[in-house]
Amino acid sequence: MALLEIKDLHASVAGKPILKGINLTINFGEVHAIMGPNGSGKSTLSNVLAGNEAYEKTAGEVLFAEQNLDDLAAHERACAGMFLAFQYPVEIPGISNMYFLKAAVNAVRAYQGREQLDAMEFLDFVETRKKVVKIRDDLLERAVNSGFSGGEKKRNEIFQMAMLEPKLGILDETDSGLDIDALRIVADGVNALRSPERGFLVITHYQRLLNYIEPDFVHVLVHGQIVKSGGKELALELESEGYASWSGEEGP
């Protein structure tokens, strides 16, 4: 079975059509990259998949591990194994990162019919995940994303992904605003989480992230449609030629 099957997906934001017929299949173990100019619908795609109600799906069908996404509320999609690393992670003052993660991990486990982790088991689990994605202890103790730098927020997203062990990880422009060191740390985390049981959808404007996270497939999204798909070499092609030939706009 496919991990994610998107069939003729249309979506609007505030009544304005953005996605105009997306078709995409991701299998377990694959990493797909979606590239496109600003305003092409990249973030809309990730938000529609994750169930953000500010985005309205108007037509088409999406199957996630053979389940119709229409039947799942946002939190159920997360519990079923879909993880969105946000482009702009929000701050939640007063709630420590650890407390938040424990609530999230146990919510997902409850949904999946697995036993709840008590405080000690949870701490042990955190230790094992810290070996996969490095994160400073003080970031775990501080309130969720509060006062984090841009790089720290993104690293926190990847650490959360490591904790929640999703089937599908969607990275929404995770590279935006990162310097080269932060980019490498984030990419190392994602690479450590690559496995035959997990797929990734990496959404990015720039090719440089794909130097670190090597995709199996690259798709070009322009004006709400995938206009070209290919292997990783397509990303390099875009880097040199830009999006201009499809969109009639200046490339990056």
């Binding site: 994750a50 109600e53 500010a54 946002a74 997360a78 969105l84 007063g94 709630i95 609530a103």
Partner: protein, 484 residues
């Protein structure tokens, strides 16, 4: 995620007030209405000494000259004080219960429903001594023997009047005088019962003392009076919880709490107030017009107020500290939640008189639905208060876009050595925050609880352990369905 659309208000209608049951007990009430006769009759029924009767009558006569205050940011139709019954006592087969066995079993069943550990064995488990006030009289005071051994007096106010008249006379009205304000004056005239506590010099009370209030009878006002005295070097922590049955009409609750801390004494007073808030259209609910004040009389004394207010149709309440002793400390930690059409105008007063006095105010207001939530606080540094310090933090959180949050800080500084700090923030639970939590697997209601509890954390950690858990749950219930 749409916040606060019409649908979510419909869902709110489904929300039930968990404590809205009525206990079928015969009660011995005075007819509605208020005049000098009624005041004297209350005093007579309670077999009070003459000085107390006259004190009540003086208060009543003064009250007749007063007008109901209008400065608070709350709106309600005029109260008909002649339509209220000022005394309602559950009828007992025996005039005063000597043990729990003599208390009406239905009454005990009510308390069980509320989860109050009235029976002593349950009390032992919780290590809390409870004085339970049902309508106007105190029903049973638990754990008394153990406290008596240490010289601690903890009993109903009426009993204190009979057994310790000298203590009552010495302190009654010394913190909140009978002329203090409209509602306190009314209370002074008609108060029917309440709790009394006296902790002798140097004694640390070994357990949390607790009062539980419940309004049961219809058309009754509850006017309880609490007086708590910590003598030199004494230390006591006191909890107060409140509920009321669900009724269509509004009920008046005008209590007075007086705290006295002598030299080196410490009093911690915690309240979880969950009176019936009225239904989603604002019908019914308790008018909670309460005067609470503490005097730090001696040097190095300390009074700390912690309150979690989720109930009542209207709350009008300003637990205050008068810091008279040098180096005395006043604290106020508050969470006030308003939903639907609830209104709260609450805050504190910190009056610095002594040298090196310090006060801390942390207020968290949460508004949902169409509720209005105001913080009103006064910090006054008198000329005599050398090196006084105050820190105030007032945070408001809005859920939805039809509610309001207001802050009215008053700061009066009469001594140039004072340091006064005031911080205020207003935040809104954002759809983006909720979606972020959803995307990590948390349901919307759980997400709201998480965010709200994070917001209130500084106050919750001041509550005694078992109360903190209760308060968190209460917050969840109060905000149920406020985000749809």
């Amino acid at each position: 995620m749409k916040i606060q659309d019409e649908k979510s208000f419909d869902e709110l209608a489904g929300k039930q007030y968990k404590y809205g049951f009525v206990t079928d007990i015969e009660s011995d009430s005075l007819p509605p209405g208020l005049n000098e006769q009624i005041v004297r009759e209350i005093s007579r029924r309670k077999n009070e000494p003459e000085w107390l009767t006259e004190w009540r009558v003086k208060a009543f006569k003064h009250w007749e000259t007063m007008e109901q205050p209008t400065w608070a940011k709350v709106e309600f139709p005029p109260i008909d004080y002649q339509a209220i019954s000022y005394y309602s006592a559950p009828k007992q087969k025996i005039s005063a219960p000597k043990s729990l066995d003599e208390v009406d079993p239905e009454l005990l069943a009510t308390y069980e429903k509320l989860g109050i550990p009235l029976r002593e064995q349950e009390v032992l488990a919780g290590v809390v001594a409870v004085d339970a006030v049902f309508d106007s009289v105190s029903v049973a005071t638990t754990f008394r023997g153990k406290l008596e051994e240490m010289g601690i007096v903890f009993c109903s106010f009426s009993e204190a009047v009979q057994k310790h008249p000298e203590l009552v006379r010495k302190y009654l009205g010394t913190v909140v005088p009978y002329k203090d304000n409209y509602f306190a004056t009314l209370n002074s005239a008609v108060f029917s019962d309440g709790s009394f506590c006296y902790v002798p010099p140097g004694v640390r009370c070994p357990m949390e003392l607790s009062t539980y209030f419940r309004i049961n009878a219809a058309n009754t006002g509850q006017f309880e009076r609490t007086l708590l005295v910590a003598d030199e070097g004494a230390c006591v922590s006191y909890l107060e919880g409140c509920t009321a049955p669900q009724r269509d009409e509004n009920q008046l609750h005008a209590a007075v709490v007086e705290l006295v801390a002598l030299g080196n004494a410490q009093i911690k007073y915690s309240t979880v107030q969950n009176w019936y808030p009225g239904d989603k259209d604002g019908r019914g609910g308790i008018y909670n017009f309460v005067t609470k004040r503490g005097h730090c009389r001696g040097d190095n004394s300390k009074i700390s107020w912690t309150q979690v207010e989720t109930g009542s149709a209207i709350t009008w309440k300003y637990p205050s500290c008068v810091l008279k002793g040098d180096h005395s400390v006043g604290e106020f930690y508050s969470v006030a939640v308003t939903n639907n059409l609830q209104q709260a105008d609450t805050g504190t007063k910190m009056i610095h008189i002594g040298k090196n006095t310090r006060s801390t105010i942390v207020s968290k207001g949460i508004s949902a639905g169409r509720a209005q939530n105001s913080y009103r606080g006064l910090v006054r540094i008198q000329e005599t208060a050398e090196n006084a310090r105050n820190f105030s933090q007032c945070d408001s959180m809005l859920i939805g876009d039809r509610c309001g949050a207001h802050t009215f800080p008053y700061i009066e500084v009469g001594n140039p050595t004072a340091q006064v700090e005031h911080e205020a923030t207003t935040t809104k639970i954002g759809e983006d925050q909720i979606f972020y939590c959803n995307q990590r697997g948390l349901e919307t209601e759980e997400a709201v609880n998480l965010i709200v509890n994070g917001f209130c954390k500084e106050v919750f950690r001041e509550l005694p352990m078992e109360f903190a858990v209760e308060a968190q749950k209460l917050l969840g219930i109060s905000l149920e369905g406020s985000v749809g």
